[in-house]
């Protein structure tokens, strides 16, 4: 599974796998309007792990829905592999914040993970193998026949991650996946995301409101301003590739980076906009 993903060079001429241009989204609410995103532009190269961090309500979920073809932007465009995204792309898997609602309670763990493959017409035997491998990758090889509601929150989110892995995407998009789990579980899941990224060579877009999490996980951090939203800063994270919850977080660079991101978010709140076009 990992090899095929590695061998696929999906760069376009510009070198970007995912390209977001002047993306804007204004919701029509009754007779009025809510401007959730003003204008966002960025590129993601194949194989990157990018964290998108911003305060609650700044439009992170809206941005992800536009990226993943679930919501049509009101301005600008998203392109994946040079193709404009108009509907959910086959190469993209999404892990939602609300795992309890994203997993189907009437399906067992293995049926939840296998459903997208079934819909794609993958034959039974091959499907079972892929599902088992994906669940073993997230440490749930023993829970195939359990139902999601019999598992803890952290385990449910692992199932959702396994479902994304089994889908064999080129881009893995995650919307605050660990906002609702306890601190210890959260640390384990963060390390799981880095391992999946390294093992499978997928491109990961990880959205969070947690500054420490964004710096710990990301190779690159996009800081969003508060609403109406723009990219406040595009920051490269020069931490070692092998990260450790204790030693990495104790590094001076880690502290510097998180302080920097923190200041950017504070500046954004004061309306001091870096990325705003004149």
């Amino acid at each position: 599974m990992a090899d095929t993903t590695h061998e696929k060079p999906s760069e376009t001429r510009s070198g970007a796998l995912l390209s977001v241009r002047d993306l804007g989204k204004t919701y029509a609410v009754g007779s009025g309007e809510v401007e959730a995103i003003r204008s966002i532009s960025f590129d993601v190269r194949a194989g990157e792990l990018v964290c998108i961090v911003g305060p609650s309500g700044c439009g992170k979920t809206t941005l992800l829905k536009c990226l993943s073809g679930l919501l049509a932007p009101t301005a600008g465009s998203v392109a994946l592999d040079g193709q404009t995204v108009l509907a959910p792309p086959k190469k993209m898997a999404v892990v939602f914040q609300e795992y309890g609602r994203s997993l189907y309670p009437w399906l067992s763990v293995q049926d939840n993970v296998g459903l997208p493959l079934k819909a794609r017409g993958v034959p039974r035997g091959e499907r079972d193998d892929t599902v088992r491998a994906a669940l073993e990758e997230v440490g749930l090889g023993h829970a195939l026949t359990a139902f999601p509601w019999q598992l803890s929150g952290g385990m449910q989110q692992r199932v959702a991650i396994a479902r994304a892995i089994a889908y064999e995407p080129e881009v893995l998009v995650m919307d605050e996946p660990f906002a609702a789990v306890d601190a210890q579980t959260r640390a384990d899941l963060e390390d799981l995301v880095r391992r999946v990224w390294q093992d499978l060579g997928v491109t990961v877009l990880f959205v969070t409101h947690d500054i420490d999490e964004s710096v710990y996980l990301g190779e690159r951090v996009l800081v969003l301003s508060s609403s109406p939203t723009v990219v406040q800063e595009d920051l490269s994270v020069d931490l070692p590739a092998e990260r450790d919850q204790i030693s990495t977080r104790a590094l001076p660079q880690f502290t510097e980076l998180r302080t920097h991101v923190h200041e950017q978010i504070q500046r954004a709140k004061r309306g001091d906009r870096a990325g705003l076009p004149a």
Binding site: G69, F96, E98, S102, Y104, L115
Partner: protein, 265 residues
């Protein structure tokens, strides 16, 4: 600890139930014996139970019971299949839902019994006429539940299905119908009891074979113990239908929070 307490509570409830039934039979017996009501209209409980025992040993009784059960189950099956099929289509197409809304609101409250003359006009004094009556109210009962169920699909669950490339049929099979299932089952449980009432009513009024017609025959005989015995049978049938529906509900909805809680007790 709690399961022991629950078991004890269950036992106590069963004992209370039996005591209640015995009390009812005893009161009936005493009232009938006191002679305040003529024996022609009110036989004693013991006479009725003896008569019931005798009915249960005659093949004729079982044939009559089978007639009722067949009319009931056929009517219920037609109502449920039609309601799920039409309800799903109407519920998923906003245009159809708006177009049919006022007709549904008008047709639904018409009592099934008011359909009887119409059914007889169309199909004569036949089992088909009885079926039309039996299908009518249960159909609307389930249809409206299907509409609610189909509309209740969780937005996150729907986004999940879309982003993982589930096509229309897979969404219907694995998302929409399972979401609607609890609604449908509640509808079917209520519809099953309504269909039984309507089956007996149709047999009484239209005269197609079954318990209802036999009750009417015993009335005109007159054969009060026979009549009372069959009324008890219809009551028992109602209880069985309800128990079966509850059991089916627990099996099919083992994943649903309402059943999960019950199982956790």
């Amino acid at each position: 600890m709690t399961s022991v307490a629950a078991a004890a509570a269950g036992r106590r409830q069963r004992v209370l139930g039996v005591v209640g039934i015995l009390g009812f039979l005893l009161t009936w017996e005493l009232v009938a014996l006191s002679g305040t009501v003529s024996r022609t209209y009110l036989p004693t409980a013991s006479t009725t139970l003896l008569r019931l025992g005798r009915e249960l040993t005659t093949p004729g009784f079982w044939a009559i019971l089978a007639d009722t059960v067949i009319t009931w189950s056929a009517g219920l099956a037609i109502a449920v299949v039609a309601a799920v099929a039409l309800g799903t289509v109407v519920g998923l197409v906003p245009f159809l839902e708006r177009a049919t809304h006022s007709s549904v609101e008008f047709l639904r409250p018409i009592p099934s019994v008011a359909i009887i003359p119409l059914a007889v006009l169309v199909a004569g004094l036949s089992r088909e006429a009885a079926l039309m009556v039996v299908v009518y109210a249960p159909f609307w009962q389930v249809f409206v539940q299907v509409l609610h169920g189909v509309a209740d699909v969780d937005p996150v669950a729907r986004d999940t299905a879309r982003s993982y490339g589930l096509g229309r049929l897979h969404r219907l099979r694995h998302l929409v119908l399972p979401t609607a299932l609890p609604y449908v089952i509640t509808g079917v449980r209520l519809a099953a009891s309504i269909a039984l009432v309507l089956t007996i009513t149709a047999e009484l009024v239209i005269g197609n074979p079954g318990l209802g017609r036999q009750i009417e025959l015993y009335r005109s005989a007159p054969d009060a113990p026979g009549l009372y015995a069959l009324v008890l049978v219809t009551g028992g049938l109602g209880i069985l239908v309800n128990l079966a529906a509850r059991a089916a509900e627990r099996r099919l909805l083992h994943w649903h929070p309402s059943v999960r809680r019950e199982a956790a007790l």
